[in-house]
Amino acid sequence: MIVATFILVLIGCIVLGIPVAWSLIAAAIALMLKIDFFNAQIVAQNMIHGTDNFILLAIPFFILAGELMNRGGLSRHIIEVAMALFGHVRGGLGYVGIVAALIMASLSGSAIADSAALAAILVPMMRMAGYPEGKSGGLLAAGGVIAPILPPSIALVVFGAIANISITGLFMASIVPGLLMAAALAAVWGFHARNKQYETFDKPDRRTLWRIIGKGLPALVLPFIIIGGMRLGIFTPTEASVIAVAYATIVGALVYRELDIKGFYGALVESGKTAAVVMFLVGASMISAWLVSIANLPAEIVEALAPLMDSPRLLLAAILILTLLLGMVLDFTPLMLILMPIMIPLCQAAHIDLTYFGVVFIMAGALGMLTPPVGNVLNVVAGVARIRIDRIITGVMPFLVAEIIILALLVLFPALVMVPFSWLH
């Protein structure tokens, strides 16, 4: 079968240490041989045109905003506010991580950047306070993947563009699911920490508390500016990413005074490289996306799923399970890029609301960043916090299960997405 060929070659190459982008090209070469349509132009053209899309211009800015937040001290101030509020509770650093993850998720679209910042600052503190590092890292990783669900999110932007539905609408619909994920993490963490003797931090007195909140305020208002601005129609999501960059620069340079010219230049270069790596990967995944279209795979899948077309909920469950499984072996971006064009027409045909589908589908894809062997958020947390990867993998499991349960709840009760969506919209 065509998909099997593709996935086997892809995984084989990745395991042999070939960079993922080249592994994708190699898998595409296998596809070309398999469908007997070999042409070098397929490779070149899809890599070049796959990224020649106006909407994708937002990607460098989302990455840049995250980079500037970390360099300009915004991320650190957010974590300090969360510390002041929850540091004294039993197992409090865990809640600090969850709250900080939520705030950062509503500022940046990058699970990688968020979990890197969280892990770099919080894991050393958690370690000192006697928290097991696997659990701690796992929690922060699971908190980090809220980023592509809460607005702003590139994945939602791309989904909206492909499905031709309102991106602002998608953003508004994804707020409650993002909050539910955080609530699930808090519940699991509370259960874990209920009778542990973890060291707690002193509760700051009221004056210190207000001082810390005051200092963090400029960082904390950004989510409201971004979400409010889009909600009120002041700017489009693409413009929001630019606003985020400008705001993070101004606050980092003038308020916190942690961002100087050199830091800004460094952020530009770093995010330029990161964006290039990412978009090169997007381009590489476009080759196989094109070949998959040519091989008429979408039609094959529609045919295979035809018996489910009459039961939208079953169909949805099948799609999400497939997404979760493929999420084990594919990186988030290629996964989304390969599946979106196949799944959107399918859901349209089955009369599944596309805004609702976009939210649950991207959530399923984001959870793939927590599943080995290809789980980038796990790798980042492991790397930044110097935790062994297998410890993180075990540590993240309860949180991953909790988030999958939330996903299942959203499938069983679509009202969880749609009712708050209709209030916000």
Binding site: N39, D52, I55, A161, N164, T236, S293
Partner: protein
């Protein structure tokens, strides 16, 4: 080999049904020797990629807006002139005759070969502010336009503020009020749900939206003369059927938008239309030059023959 037919129509919608007719005709006329597959909704890539695929021999057929051919041959600009055609019959008469062939011939040597024109309906106006029934109503409105100079200039001449935006951004731009209005064929207004965020529709017919059926030169060169004739005939016959499908769908869409869609539908009266035509005349004058004046006069001649039957 299998002929890949790419286009941007949504799967199963009116435009796609026309493509299905084309595929069936190819099969029928070639006695099953030529098989084709439909790739709707831009499955084979965006505009520039499908063009590149055609020229590079990766893809065989691509059906796209004639506006996109302007960069290959300036002759295609004439089709987009504001208020050129008054109705479907006029557009068909010009585009399906020798003038249309002349325009398609402008693609020679570009790696593309134009088979025939298909129909995408007239572009009409919609906006969220107030009914547009006369020239002064355009004043101060932000309109999303295609990023081609002729559309930008037309809306400037009408007194509106043209804002070029890529197609996928239109809905959210309308929704958030970044722009007040847009112009697209009625089918698009319905199928892309613009009616949810727009209240006023004007049956303006201010520009005709022609589609062109393209084949790549590498593919075309491989065909025998007999095969070329089959492909040509299939495209033309499917074009006839496609026009009927589209036009039936357009009247359905209009009824829907005025009814369930909840839009107020207006039109220009004769005096308003005259004033508006006058306002955009400089745009037309700006496009006509020594290279295309002859062709433009032929179009006008054909149209006036039709309008005043002897």
């Amino acid at each position: 080999r299998d002929i890949k037919v790419g286009h941007f129509g949504a799967p199963g919608k009116a435009f796609d049904q026309g493509v299905q007719v084309f595929i069936d005709k190819l099969d029928e006329l070639s006695n099953g020797e030529m098989t084709a597959t439909d790739y709707p909704g831009g499955q084979l890539g965006n505009e520039s990629q499908e063009i590149a695929s055609l020229r590079g021999g990766l893809q065989e057929v691509f059906i796209t807006s004639s506006t996109n051919m302007i960069r290959f041959s300036p002759k295609f600009q004439l089709i987009d002139l504001p208020f050129l055609f008054d109705n479907d019959a006029e557009a068909d008469k010009v585009l399906l005759g020798p003038i249309g062939d002349d325009i398609l011939g402008g693609l020679d040597g570009t790696g593309l070969h134009g088979l025939t024109f298909w129909d995408n309906g007239f572009r009409d106006l919609s906006n969220s502010q107030h009914p547009i029934t006369q020239l002064s109503d355009f004043e101060g409105l932000d309109f999303r336009v295609i990023g081609e100079p002729i559309f930008v200039d037309t809306f400037k001449a009408l007194g509106a503020n043209p804002v070029p935006l890529p197609f996928p951004e239109i809905y959210s731009a309308l929704e958030t009020g970044t722009v007040d209005g847009q112009d697209n064929p009625l089918l698009t207004v319905r199928d892309v749900n613009f009616f949810e965020v727009q209240d006023y529709l004007t049956d303006s017919k201010h520009a005709y939206s022609a589609m062109v059926v393209l084949v790549g030169q590498p593919f075309w060169n491989q065909l025998s003369d007999a095969q070329k004739a089959i492909v040509q005939q299939a495209a033309e016959e499917a074009g006839q059927a496609q026009r009927q499908i589209m036009r039936k769908a357009v009247s359905g869409a209009k009824a829907f938008l005025a009814g369930k869609g909840g839009m107020e539908v207006d039109s220009f009266d004769a005096a308003a239309r005259k004033a508006i035509r006058k306002a955009v005349q400089p745009v037309i004058d700006g496009v006509i030059n020594d290279d295309n004046r002859d062709l433009y006069q032929q179009i006008q001649q054909t149209l006036s023959d039709m309008r005043q039957p002897s």
